[in-house]
Every structure is written in structure tokens, then in C-alpha cells.
């Protein structure tokens, strides 16, 4: 009977080893954010600073601020290189107003910055990431269209990564 005790111990030990695993916390993935980089239209490889940027989502009429989500920027801050914006996962388009030089008129309170409207269209995809995370959304075949206005501050847009599956590098370049 004494020889059975070590086997019991091994069995118990195996049970405990199997119950603490690294895949209990989701660290492997997330639904990605769209990374937009601001480049100089004259030197397309160099970043160009955007002064006092404000981004307003038209779909839900909401202005992005620092506490909107992780990785967000301060409203009306100066952006040196790039920003992260979320895309809607329950629709195939997301519309943003990107306002450069955003400021309220001292008397009327109206926006005096240059407002450009972007429409981002995409296909929705789903992917299983890991046991702890489950499924996330991927955005495929992204197209970005600039709604032409009287005087656009955005000169050109180029999609460098049409499939947004991670938040590692710039997906869309805006030249201004």
C-alpha cells in the first residue's frame, strides 16, 4: 500500500500542473485599431505634424479624446506622426471628420478648423486568436475616400495595408 502513495501524489501533482496554464489571460490579440500616419505631401517618406487635431466620428457623433480608448490621443493636440482610430465592427463603413487646426470661434462657439471627412469602407472578418481571447474582428480590403470639399487640407490618401489584422504598423497614409 505504501507504494500507492507516490502514485497518488503524482496524480495530484499532474492535476495541479494542468490547471495553471499560461493561456488563462488574453494577451495574444485584440480587435485591431486603424493606424493613420500623417506624411508630407512634398516629401512622401517624411512625417508631417498636424496642429491641433480633432477627430469626430460621424456615425455615433462622438469626439475622440484621451480616455475614449487605450492608445487614443488628446483632443486638439499636435500629432507628430500617427494616430489610432477604431473602426465599427457591426457595420462595413466608418466615417470620421478629421479637423486640422481645430478651434472654437470665440463668439459663436463654432468650429473654425479645416474639416475633412473620410469614409472608410471594409469587409468584416472574424478570426480565432487563442483560448483566452476567443474571436476578434479583422477588417479586410480597406478603402478610404475623401469627401471633396471647398478646400481640403488632406492632399492625398494611400492605403498601405488593406487588411487590418493587427496594430503593429501604419495602415493608411494621409499626405498633407
Amino acid at each position: 500500500m505504501k507504494k500507492i502513495i507516490p502514485i497518488l501524489l503524482i496524480a495530484v501533482m499532474l492535476y495541479y500542473v494542468s490547471s495553471c496554464e499560461k493561456d488563462d489571460i488574453c494577451v495574444d490579440g485584440d480587435t485591431p485599431l486603424l493606424i493613420v500616419g500623417f506624411y508630407n505631401v512634398e516629401d512622401t517618406t517624411a512625417f508631417k505634424r498636424v496642429e491641433s487635431i480633432r477627430i469626430r466620428n460621424i456615425d455615433i457623433d462622438s469626439i475622440i479624446s484621451k480616455d475614449s480608448y487605450k492608445g487614443a490621443f488628446n483632443d486638439r493636440s499636435n500629432i507628430a506622426d500617427s494616430i489610432l482610430v477604431p473602426l465599427r465592427s457591426n457595420a462595413v463603413t466608418t466615417m470620421y471628420q478629421i479637423i486640422s487646426g481645430s478651434q472654437d470661434d470665440a463668439d459663436t462657439g463654432e468650429e473654425t478648423g479645416n474639416i475633412d471627412t473620410l469614409t472608410i469602407s471594409y469587409d468584416l472578418g472574424e478570426a480565432f486568436v487563442s483560448r483566452a481571447c476567443g474571436f476578434v474582428v479583422n477588417y479586410n480590403n480597406i478603402t478610404v475616400t475623401l469627401n471633396e470639399g471647398a478646400e481640403n487640407w488632406i492632399q492625398d490618401i494611400s492605403v498601405v495595408q488593406p487588411n487590418v489584422a493587427n496594430t503593429d504598423s501604419i495602415h493608411v497614409k494621409i499626405f498633407h
Partner: protein, 251 residues
């Protein structure tokens, strides 16, 4: 007359002594040889039976069997069917809920490392198995993981719930440590712990195999799995064979 007789007796004494040349064997061998029983042991896993009654998300049955080949070596096999429904949660939100259902068969050997006392039939075994499972997974419900809450305060539900993934299979090698104790005549209770190493794993690219019948939980980035069983089995004696030959070899 008696004087001569005694003289003759003394004279014959050396001959008598000669007759005693073979020494008396004080540790004479017992001629009754102990025969060990050989046969087939069949049974079922009680833990899976109990879990089937207690846990409403689980039904399972495993039949176990072994056949004694030599003094130490047994051929051993398990055959089973399991259905298990599981979910993964994050702060009370169900990330996904799935059900795995299928059958498996394991075959291999057990080596009894326990030297029994006279008349005992207990076993402490180490062994190996090769196992094959065929199963299906059903994704009942799932939501889409998204840490930013800009658009939606909660995770969105998945687009295509209630999807079934058929034709899944897996095979693995198993290392088994076990013990069997004869509780009553020919009735054995046993337990075993097993470490499995996945050799093949055919899974759907949309939803990987997270749990395999007979193998248990599949861990991300690892081929190892752990499972166990508690069995009760009946020994069907088929023939008896002496263990004597082995003891002579020892001497």
C-alpha cells in the same frame, strides 16, 4: 553369542556410515508450485460515469481492458466516448461556448512493477498507449473580443453562431502510471494518470481543437495533455501458469 554379535555390529559400523553418505536435506523444496492466474480483465471508468450524472455539461463512458501476457506484461486498451460542453468567460461575458463530442480508442502495454506476496494480485504499472480520436466541435455562441469601447459598451455577438466542425481527428502517445488493487476476488479497482503527447491534430482553421475526447484539454503552444481514470474491473481467469521457472533462474 551376544558378544560376537556386538563385535560384528561394530565391524559393520563403517558400512552403515557409508550408507549415510547422502546428507539429509533439511530445506527441502515445497513441491506444491504456486500458479498465477492469467486472463482478461474488463471494466469501466467510474469517474466518467459519476461525472455524467453530476455534471450536466458532460457525458462520458470509458471501457477498460487488459490481457496478461507474461508475469509482468499486460496488453491494455481503453475505448470511450465523451461529450463535453464548455465556455470561456471574461468578466461574466461569454467569449465562446462550444461542445466537443466524439470517440477514442487507446491501445498499448502495461508493465507491472509490483512484486506481489503469495496470493496477492495487485499491480503498480507503468505503460504506454497510442490513442486515436475522432470527434466534432460545435461552436454554440461567441462574442468578438474588443478592448476599445468607443463604439460598443459590450462585446459584439459573433456573426455565425451554431457552427459545427466535423471530421476532426487527433492521435497521441500516452505515458501511463497506474495502480490496481484486488478488492474482492477477481474485482479490481484501479486508477491511472496519463500524460499525452499530441502527434497529429486535424483541426478546422476557423476554430481549433480546444478539447479532445480522451486527451482532455489542449493547451496553446503545447503538445502535452493530462488525463486520468478511475476504473473498476472484473478479472476473467482463462488459465494458470506457474511462476516456478523464474524462481529457479534466480537461484
Amino acid at each position: 553369542m551376544s558378544k560376537y554379535f556386538i563385535n560384528i555390529l561394530f565391524g559393520l559400523l563403517p558400512i552403515l556410515a557409508l550408507a549415510q553418505s547422502e546428507p539429509i536435506d533439511l530445506s527441502q523444496k515445497d513441491t506444491i508450485e504456486y500458479k498465477e492466474q492469467y486472463g482478461l480483465r474488463v471494466g469501466a471508468d467510474i469517474s466518467k460515469l459519476i461525472l455524467s450524472f453530476v455534471d450536466e455539461d458532460y457525458t462520458g463512458l470509458e471501457l477498460v481492458g487488459d490481457y496478461r501476457l507474461t508475469h509482468k506484461l499486460y496488453l491494455a486498451a481503453e475505448i470511450g466516448n465523451e461529450t463535453k460542453r464548455q465556455d470561456e468567460n471574461l468578466n461574466n461575458t461569454v467569449l465562446y461556448d462550444y461542445e466537443t463530442s466524439g470517440s477514442y480508442i487507446k491501445a498499448g502495454i502495461d508493465l507491472n512493477t509490483y512484486e506481489n506476496w503469495f496470493g496477492m494480485n495487485n499491480a503498480i504499472t507503468i505503460g504506454g498507449r497510442y490513442a486515436v480520436a475522432s470527434f466534432s466541435q460545435t461552436l454554440n455562441d461567441y462574442s468578438l473580443y474588443e478592448t476599445n469601447r468607443f463604439f460598443n459598451p459590450d462585446f459584439l455577438p459573433g456573426e455565425n453562431p451554431n457552427r459545427e466542425f466535423n471530421g476532426l481527428s487527433a492521435s497521441w502517445l500516452e505515458f501511463v502510471v497506474g495502480a490496481k488493487v484486488e478488492l474482492f476476488a477477481n474485482i479490481f479497482v484501479g486508477m491511472s494518470a496519463r500524460i499525452g503527447f499530441l502527434v497529429t491534430n486535424t483541426e478546422d482553421e476557423q476554430f481549433p481543437n480546444l478539447w479532445i475526447p480522451g486527451f482532455n484539454k489542449v493547451t496553446d503552444g503545447s503538445n502535452f495533455g493530462v488525463n486520468y481514470n478511475y476504473s473498476i474491473s472484473y478479472f476473467i481467469p482463462l488459465y494458470k501458469k506457474s511462476k516456478k521457472q523464474k524462481e529457479e533462474n534466480k537461484q
